[in-house]
């Protein structure tokens, strides 16, 4: 394309869609930051800027200069905004609130103008720069919904709140926003010379996105991307490449699914730590003695020479639910000889797929529940747990292990690595204890976790995975690791001391996180593995290690709004805001009223139209009875209507004779009637003999009755607009 041709095309109608897209993007970009008026100003100035670009692109101004001017303009807008914001005189003149608003307005306007003018000009000059404007639009929309990441369905507040207030689902609205932005981006990419082609593409893109959107509604929301990986809690939990290389030759021999295993990872994936995975509802007030709620999903008790895996031996770990249940299922009863456990009911709603149900320790009964919102929750089940009401330290002096255990089971739970260093360390720990306690197994277990808490350093980044025994590498090395390391180390040491122990895995939540509410939100950051030992008459007692030092920042506390919102959803309640504030209600009401009026109006109009059509049809048929001198015309018209009813009508440019010849098969007499009609119209003679005409008309009607099936005739008689086609 020559320069001239390109310049000529700048002003094509297709170029006028772009300003709208620019305006919308700028408005969306500034909407979360500031007042509505600022977003409106940005919208307007972006539109103007994109329009200004059309004449600007025609000038001789060099392209790099335009790009530079754009950057300078945006920088100037930032500077201007900052200066005005800080300037004392400015706030004195306008008052603080007005000054802030004005500064925002000016900054946003200048930035939008500079940005859209330069970007649009660049895109007009060279097609490759269209990518920049696509990025601009995409970024604006992404910025709007960025807070929605990690399953925070109540974010961004400025959008979600009003939607939740109406009892809607913010996710749907955000999907719509995404669809809209996608459509705009596609439109920019498909900018055509022709306005109508652009419009067509936009419509097609919207249809496509609508399709995607509707299928999302049907197939449910996509599963949370990650979270709780490496602990074997969730399916499709692929081992990292690093881990596979290191232990590729060691296929798990436990017969369980490949992904249900603990992994030592050098670099524990902290991606998706904020992704909500489940929400738990407490049916009764329960305060955990340790201040932590432990939700056990699985346990690893079999030592395979390298680490602990799921047990293959029968009769062990019977308290773990083998799979999701389809009916009310009673698990192995948890011993509760001295009443140290309390019965507690919880409801668990899974937001992500899990390999098996987890429950507040220790589960006794699991029954599936009806899913209140199948597009959001994967599964909902109710658990009756027998939760500990006393601290682990109260079990000092109690025997460990179960009297009913066979020697094999006891051996299974006390099988530890043969590495002498474990024995040495265990002896060291025992040596540091008071002699009367050192003989007590429960005290020994507590001492192990206490020692590890004191000596270990918590970090998701460590360097033990490549070692032959990662636990030994951790324990006898730098003692930097995460829960898997600590749990293994604790269990190995307990077992070395003769205490039956295992690693439990699941989720742990600080009691403070529920903030007095009854719903507990479990995110990827809550996934955990811990050591536990068996006390006779009590069952498995969790004896967690809490390292005193940590190299990692503490995970952010869960969003209490989201926790409450999801909890209500799990209860099957439609989320309702506190108070009666429903800002969109007037708009919705007017929309409903408009819709009702529209439906009524259209219905009435349709009825009137139908009545009118039938009236005209009827009149045209009976008019020959009253016709005087115009009988030839009116009578012929009536017969034309009769033919049109059985869908025989004259084509455009077809002469009346040709039409009559065409329908001669159905109505031979129509030919003669046509001749008489044309004679009146085109010959010098005046009227036609009315009797002859009537006779011909009767003949035509009779022939039609014989020549056309009655269904066709009756259907034709019912069609109100059939006469429109007779001409």
């Amino acid at each position: 394309m020559t320069d001239e041709a390109r310049r000529a095309s700048y002003a094509s109608l297709g170029a006028f869609i772009a300003p709208l897209i620019y305006g919308l993007s700028a408005g969306v970009f500034f909407y979360p930051f500031s007042e509505l008026s600022v977003a409106g100003a940005a919208l307007g100035f972006a539109c103007v800027g994109a329009l200004l670009a059309i004449p600007l692109a025609r000038t001789r101004l060099r392209t790099p200069v335009i790009a530079l001017l754009g950057v300078l303009g945006v920088l100037a807008a930032g500077g201007l905004h900052g200066t005005l914001d800080d300037a004392l005189w400015f706030s004195r003149v306008f008052g603080p609130a007005q000054a802030l608003l004005l500064a925002n307005l000016i900054g946003a306007s200048v930035a939008s103008l500079a940005c859209s003018t330069s970007l649009r000009t660049l895109a007009l000059r060279r097609r490759i720069f269209s990518l920049l404007e696509v990025l601009f639009v995409g970024a604006a929309f992404a910025e709007l919904v960025v807070a929605h990441r990690f399953g925070a369905i109540n974010r961004p507040f400025e959008l979600a709140d009003s939607i939740i207030a109406q009892g809607g689902d913010p996710t749907v609205a955000l999907l719509l926003i995404g669809a809209l932005s996608g459509a705009l981006v596609i439109t920019l990419l498909l900018q055509e010379r022709s306005f109508w082609r652009s419009l067509l593409h936009l419509t097609l893109a919207l249809c496509l996105l609508l399709l995607v959107f509707s299928s999302t509604r049907l197939l449910g929301l996509p599963s949370p991307p990650a979270g709780a990986s490496g602990l074997g809690l969730r399916p499709n939990d692929k081992p990292s490449q690093n881990e596979q290389n290191a232990h590729g030759q060691q296929k798990p021999k436990d017969g369980k699914s490949d992904n249900e295993r603990l992994e030592f990872r050098d670099n524990y994936d902290s991606q998706g730590r904020q992704v909500p995975l489940a929400v738990v509802l407490l049916h009764d007030d329960y305060s955990a003695p340790t201040g932590m709620y432990y939700f056990r999903q699985t346990a690893f008790s079999q030592y395979n020479g390298k680490r602990l895996v799921s047990a293959t031996l029968g009769g062990v770990d019977t308290d773990i639910a083998p799979a999701f249940v389809t009916q009310d299922t009673q698990l192995t009863p948890v011993p509760n000889v001295n009443g140290e456990r309390v019965q507690l009911d919880t409801t668990v709603a899974l937001l992500a797929d899990h390999t098996r149900p987890f429950a507040l320790e220790s589960a006794e009964r699991i029954s599936p529940l009806r899913n209140p919102d199948s597009s959001r929750f994967r599964r909902v089940y109710r658990v009756t747990s027998s939760a500990l009401s006393t601290k682990p330290s109260t079990f000092v002096g109690r025997p460990v292990g179960d009297r009913a255990w066979s020697p094999e089971v006891l051996a299974h739970y006390t099988d530890a690595p043969k590495d002498p260093r474990y024995k040495k360390l265990a002896d060291e720990i025992l040596g540091s204890m008071r002699p009367e306690l050192a003989a007590d197994p429960a005290a020994r277990a507590l001492a192990v976790s206490f020692w590890l808490s004191r000596e270990g350093t918590y970090s998701l980044k460590s360097g033990h995975a490549q070692a032959e025994d990662p636990t030994a590498d951790f324990l006898f090395g730098d003692r930097i690791g995460y829960c898997v390391h600590f749990a293994h180390a604790a269990v190995y040491l307990m077992r070395t001391m003769g205490v039956p122990a295992r690693v439990g895995a699941g989720y742990v939540v600080d009691e403070a996180a529920r903030q007095g509410g009854s719903s507990i939100l479990l995110t990827g950051a809550n996934s955990h593995a811990w050591p536990e030992f068996y006390v006779d008459g009590v069952g498995w007692v969790i004896d967690d290690v809490s390292p005193a030092r940590s190299l990692d920042a503490a995970p952010p506390p869960p969003d209490p709004d989201l926790q409450r919102l999801l909890g209500e959803m799990a209860r099957g309640l439609k989320p309702m805001p506190a108070g009666s504030e429903r800002p969109l209600e007037p708009i919705l009401a007017s929309v409903r009223a408009f819709r009702d009026a529209l439906v009524r109006g259209v219905g009435l109009l349709a009825f009137l139209l139908l009545a009118l059509l039938y009236l005209i049809k009827l009149w045209r048929r009976v008019a020959p009875v009253f016709a005087g001198s115009s009988l030839s015309r009116v009578g012929y018209r009536a017969e034309l209507d009769r033919l049109a009813e059985v869908s025989l009508h004259r084509g455009f440019g077809e002469t009346r004779e040709a039409f009559a010849a065409r329908v001669a098969r159905e109505a031979p007499s129509f030919r003669r009637l046509t001749e008489r009609h044309l004679a009146v119209a085109f010959s010098a003679q005046g009227a036609v003999d009315p009797e002859e005409l009537r006779g011909l008309r009767r003949k035509v009607a009779r022939e039609l009755r014989g020549g056309v099936s009655w269904q066709r005739r009756w259907l034709g008689a019912l069609v109100p607009w059939s006469w429109l086609r007779s001409k």
Partner: protein
């Protein structure tokens, strides 16, 4: 034409005159149809041209019966034997033909010691000009003068042709080597150009069935038509068949539409419209009507305008161009009949 009239105009009422004219047409049609099989549409057009005082150009392949058609028309005429004008003559045009071969020439007569004019083959009622594009433009122009003026000029002396002078010219559309194509002003002299298609299978079979019996004799038993009857028919039709003002409007609209069509370089002339009127009347009467109807326009327009308009290069189907202009005009006419 004023000198003619064995039947006084004033003495008959219009219906009677028209009925007689229609009878004449029916006779001609029947005779010709008896001889020529499977060419009813061509016969109709040729007879219309004969009655409308025009000439026709047949675009055709050799051996498709055009001579037979022309001769049967000639045979249909009852000619005064003593007259100098033959009923039918055929001129085979060749490149070396001279104008005098067509028109006739002055011959020195020893008896009277003077030149006397010996009329050429053109002095006939019906002339078949075979392969008219094969002869030189000189001969063509002599021929065309005769067609337009009904006279020939030899040695500055003008010799009138008969009032009933009808030329059927032919040309082969494919065999164009060594031909002199007729330029458009000369084509304009022909009322119709008729492109003949090969006849239908049944018709062709019928032609073969009649093999031993020369087809030309088949119509011998039928009545003939005299020259006077034919000329009278012309006048009766001209005066008796009504042309509604709307029909004339439609013709003008059609010509204007053709001229404004961007596919058309040269549109239809006003003369063609004037020539078309008697043709429309003749066709109306052949259909048994005493008025011209839109159907007549639809039937004749392609043959009247097909050889008169010139289209831009690349336009293959002239008939479609004409039909495109024709359709709105016909639609208006059809609407008119209901709205009046």
């Amino acid at each position: 034409m004023d000198t003619q009239g064995t039947i006084p105009t004033g003495s008959i009422g219009k219906p009677a005159g028209l009925a007689e004219a229609q009878k004449t047409l029916t006779t001609l049609t029947a005779r010709t149809r008896a001889v020529i099989v499977g060419r009813d549409d061509v016969i109709e057009l040729v007879l219309i041209a004969l009655v409308a005082d025009g000439h026709v150009l047949l675009e055709d392949y050799p051996g498709s019966g055009k001579t037979t058609l022309a001769r049967s028309l000639g045979d249909s005429l009852r000619v005064v034997a003593s007259g100098p004008i033959a009923a039918f003559r055929r001129i085979q045009f060749t490149p070396d033909l001279l104008p005098s071969d067509v028109t006739g020439s002055s011959v020195f007569e020893l008896d009277g010691n003077r030149f006397t004019f010996r009329p050429g083959p053109i002095f006939a009622h019906i002339v078949l000009a075979d392969e008219i594009n094969r002869t030189s433009p000189k001969v063509q122009s002599a021929m065309l003068e005769a067609m337009a003026e009904k006279q020939v000029t030899v040695d500055n002396e003008t010799h009138k042709l008969d009032e009933l002078f009808f030329v059927i010219a032919t040309q082969n559309p494919l065999d164009v080597m060594g031909t002199y194509p007729l330029p458009s002003p000369q084509l304009d002299r022909f009322l119709f150009k008729i492109e003949m298609k090969h006849i239908a299978r049944d018709a062709e079979l019928e032609v073969l069935t009649h093999y031993p019996k020369p087809s030309l004799q088949m119509g011998d038993t039928m009545p003939k038509v005299s020259r006077e009857e034919l000329i009278h028919t012309r006048r009766v039709i001209r005066e008796g068949v009504h042309i509604a003002p709307a029909i004339r409007e439609a013709l003008v609209d059609l010509a204007r539409a053709l001229r404004s069509d961007e596919r058309v370089l040269q549109g239809a002339s006003t003369r063609s419209l004037v020539l078309m009127l008697p043709a429309l009347q003749a066709r109306a009467l052949m259909q048994g009507r005493d008025y011209v109807s839109p159907d007549d326009i639809e039937r004749l327009a392609p043959h009247v305008f097909g050889h008169r308009i010139e289209c831009t290069p690349g336009v293959v189907d002239k008939n479609e161009v004409i039909a495109a202009s024709l359709r709105p005009c016909l639609e208006r006419l059809s609407k008119l009949s209901l709205s009046r």
